[in-house]
């Protein structure tokens, strides 16, 4: 009956969005949809795990956007606990393994979607196999471990978004938290001067941060449970629980084995309609692909739920006989540590250098609301602009309430290719509870305009 068969590998944000959107466009008479997922859940908000760990979100189920049953009710043949272990592109088929029963079978596709996600990096270190070393890969195991240990001391390795969010979550759970990170400052997704503000805030909330820390070993007790982390500086940090937050990498073993094109970060390379380059009937999206960075003019691996959902939407449109594209990203990311909001978009200094751009920077500190409004807190904005043209290149913001989403102003301006002079004239929302009369982003832009002028060509 069905004229075509769509096979989706991976049942999370990108995969299930793609399946759902394709189903919206074509009914089961036109398109059969089979989706394979290794786990028991689908459409799971991994981004919510730190808040579940921190106790802000009560139930894991709250993080599930749509259950397997809901997908099945929409005529998607969803096979959970089933892993795709091989792609046969010339044969237009995939080999699937039932993880509970152990049986394997080949199944045919007309259209294939790869949404295999990313996996947390686990460095090869002595002792890394000890019990009590957690990643966000399995939130349940992490929460169980925290409930079991009820320890007082946690060591977080890594101070990116996940590391910082996990540090906050562990503080909320009553742990004494030490964050070990390699760089000069936490949040290496910011320039070090801005990361320094995060550093100060983390210390103020009682989190110990250790810069330039190279972890050398995990020490375990007689029962094989992690009890301390050592660094190349010879320090030993006692830990009842160790959380690794040193990033993720695209999960692309299947794609690599099948000879699909991979980028410099190991992510699958696609065209603007999220088709795998050179493969008309194969799409890929979510944390397993690289995306085009519109400001730097190169692809990057940026694992973020919001991109995964957009990819799924675009893929589902294409696979369902429609048309949509994902033009790329500008590198927007937001986060928080307690009351401190952290945001970036576009290029940091090192990105701009790497992209071959000459630039000026401008950093200002203002307030999130009118200065006289009760509860006004500081907001620091750093802006990068291209020297000759004055084109906006990037913005970083650290501050109180309202700081994070303010970066959206710059994200849109970057997408539109605006100069900092154009940014100064933007008609942004002003009222005393929401902004000083000159929004902090505009104040930064004014300073950037002066810097561009002073720099000449």
């Amino acid at each position: 009956m069905a004229t075509e068969r769509l096979v989706v590998v991976g049942g999370d944000a990108a995969g299930m969005s793609a399946a759902s959107q394709a189903r919206r466009l074509q009914g089961p008479q036109e398109l059969e949809i089979v989706a394979f997922e290794r786990g028991r859940f689908t459409s799971y908000s991994a981004c919510g795990i730190p808040y579940w760990v921190g106790g802000l979100v009560a139930e894991r189920d709250d993080l599930i956007a749509r259950t397997p049953e809901e997908h099945r009710a929409r005529d998607i043949d969803l096979r959970t606990r089933t892993e795709v272990v091989e792609l046969d592109l010339p044969g237009s088929r995939v080999r699937a393994r039932d993880l509970d029963g152990g049986s394997e079978y080949w199944t045919h596709y007309d259209k294939l979607v790869l949404a295999t996600g990313a996996r947390p990096v686990r460095p090869r270190l002595p002792g890394i196999g000890a019990h009590g070393i957690q990643t966000l890969d399995d939130g349940r195991r992490l929460v169980d471990a925290l409930e079991r240990t009820r320890g007082r001391r946690a060591v977080v390795v890594g101070a990116g978004y996940i590391g910082v969010e996990m540090a906050e979550a562990l503080v909320l759970r009553g742990y004494e938290v030490t964050v070990l990170h390699r760089g000069e400052q936490p949040m290496a997704t910011l320039d070090p001067d801005m990361g320094g503000l995060v550093h100060t805030a983390m210390n103020r909330m009682g989190i110990v941060t250790v810069a330039g820390a190279e972890v050398t070993e995990i020490l375990a007790d007689e029962e094989g449970r992690a009890r301390a982390v050592t660094t190349s500086a010879g320090e030993e940090y006692p830990a009842d629980v160790v959380v690794l937050g040193i990033g993720v990498e695209p999960r692309t073993a299947l794609a690599r084995a099948a000879g699909l094109p991979l980028g410099p970060s190991g992510g699958i390379l696609t065209d603007l309609s999220m088709r795998v380059r050179g493969h008309e009937n194969v799409w890929a999206g979510g944390d397993c692909v690289e995306v085009l960075d519109l400001v730097a003019g190169r692809t990057r691996h940026i694992p973020l739920g919001t991109h995964a959902n957009k990819h799924g939407q675009v893929i589902g449109s294409g696979a369902g006989g429609g048309y949509a594209t994902f033009p790329g990203v500008v590198g927007t990311a937001v986060s928080k540590v307690c009351d401190l909001e952290i945001a970036r978009t576009g290029l940091r200094e090192r990105d701009a250098l790497e992209a071959g751009l000459r630039f000026v920077t401008a950093t200002i500190t203002s307030t999130n609301t009118a200065g006289y409004y009760p509860g006004a807190t500081e907001m620091t904005v750093k802006m990068l602009a291209e020297r000759r043209t004055g084109r906006l290149l990037g913005v970083q913001i650290v501050g109180g309430a309202g700081s994070a989403k303010r970066v959206d102003i710059a994200a849109v301006a970057l997408t539109a290719g605006m100069t900092v002079e154009q940014v100064v004239s933007l008609d942004l929302g002003y009222a005393p509870p929401f902004s000083p009369v000159w929004d902090p982003v505009l104040v930064a832009a004014r300073k950037a305009v002066s810097a561009v002028r002073a720099a000449g060509v």
Copy 2:
């Protein structure tokens, strides 16, 4: 010594920003700057008055960005309590009156800046002269009146930004508040469907709102104090204090008498460098001018402190021998009533009709944060897009924390002339404490894309 003389009429945001910026570019040897201000204060944040009235801002002085003394210390010859009563453009001079001494004098200018602001509309009604009828024109008098009456019942006439903000301020002061407004819903700066959400929220916080109310008379007691407001429906609303918030109009009597060009709303018309059209050495800015609405393609009177400050900056650059322009506005405005945030940018339905545009609308309700994040509240976004082209025309937002400044996304997109399809692809900040994985603005844009497609040409 000084080669040129700059005279500034009006010592508030636009005027004093202009004076300050000109002084930054040219020292007193090059440019003498004389500024006339009727009141005792300068650079006063009128936008902050509702928060002072509501008790959120303790002291009036908190609302003063820069005192007369500070301006004088920067070599600006500031003459407070001095009103300019006549412009002699052919003679390049203005006539000033010392409001305390009563003396008058002519003074010469090479360059003239008009920043005479706006004044609250006071309708011609029986009883309008009664004591206890307040506007925001004199915040001190209003606060004194409230402290004197310590009444229980307040009537606010008008439900625009000022009316709504004043209603909240009076609630905070313990008044029973009734808001009388002409339109179908409060906040006529929004379409009625969105204004209805504000209506509901105001009622929920105990504010009585009366739609379609035409005030006919202010009734006074024997001592001439307002005691009630009557409407054409024959209703009588008892009041210990009456606050008028029915808008402001450009204060342009001087400009009109001097024959300067005025627009349809009575505001002075300028070119893009804020020079008065046809007058090379006369600038005007702030609440006394009309600004170009970039979306509607016409001038409007939009009195807002943020525009006034930008105008001042541009004027000061020009008058100080530099160069800057104010390209126009897209009509962004934000406000709040208690926890409800209200925002708009671009065109409402009636604006689009008036501009001759064919459009579709899309309205969605989502949440300000990830749905599972604690404290998630509703956010409703309405979007207008041009039918044939899909160009974004306007956005209105009503909802919980984070709703108001989200309108900036649309403000930048409008400035860039983006289509709603381009908006869908924007790389906006996502993390569970700040946004669902699809930002509400993107959800609205997705629906608008569908509406544009469904509408065809």
